[in-house]
Symmetry: C2
Subunit: 69 residues, 2 copies
DNA sequence: ACGATATGTTAATAAAACTTGACATAAAGT
DNA sequence: ACTTTATGTCAAGTTTTATTAACATATCGT
């Protein structure tokens, strides 16, 4: 009923030299299936995974994940 | 082995007119025990819960939760 | 055409987040 | 002294997130 979370992972990956889902997963310590699920909005990541992803892309967490109330 | 997450909930609650854990929990839809556990660092919240908490305090998510690599 | 890489998706299982209910202590108000 | 409010903590249970493995299609380079 309340808000949901949008993400820009796909865009950020392609701007980061077309990094693959598998490569991103390896960098943060999750599987490619997990990245695929997060990217497609099947579920949202843990806070820790979210921080690691934003760290890889060198941006703020809220530039990767956006809360819409 | 990698980093951990620090939070400023206690401080933010006291700055927000000494809002109780129970009140914060009610506002974001979790129990007071969950707030206590998050606040004390027993575990980190879901990304959704983290967004809701920062929304209540009117600050950015990364002002509530800080990632230390 | 063939082999390699990237991604989509599903099913079964494991781990983490969260709930409920309980019992405890401490501080504040009356 | 008594009641109320705030918080700490624990155990058992449910829900959500993450893992692994499998099978699928599409694209790219040779």
């Amino acid at each position: 009923m309340s808000g949901h979370i949008k993400n820009n992972i796909r865009t950020l990956r392609f701007h980061a030299n077309e990094m693959s889902q598998a490569e991103l997963g390896a960098k943060i310590g999750v599987t490619r299936q997990t990245i695929a699920a997060i990217e497609s909005g099947k579920y949202s990541p843990s806070l820790e995974a979210a921080f690691k992803i934003s760290e890889i892309f060198g941006v703020n967490l809220t530039d990767v994940f956006e809360w819409q109330a």
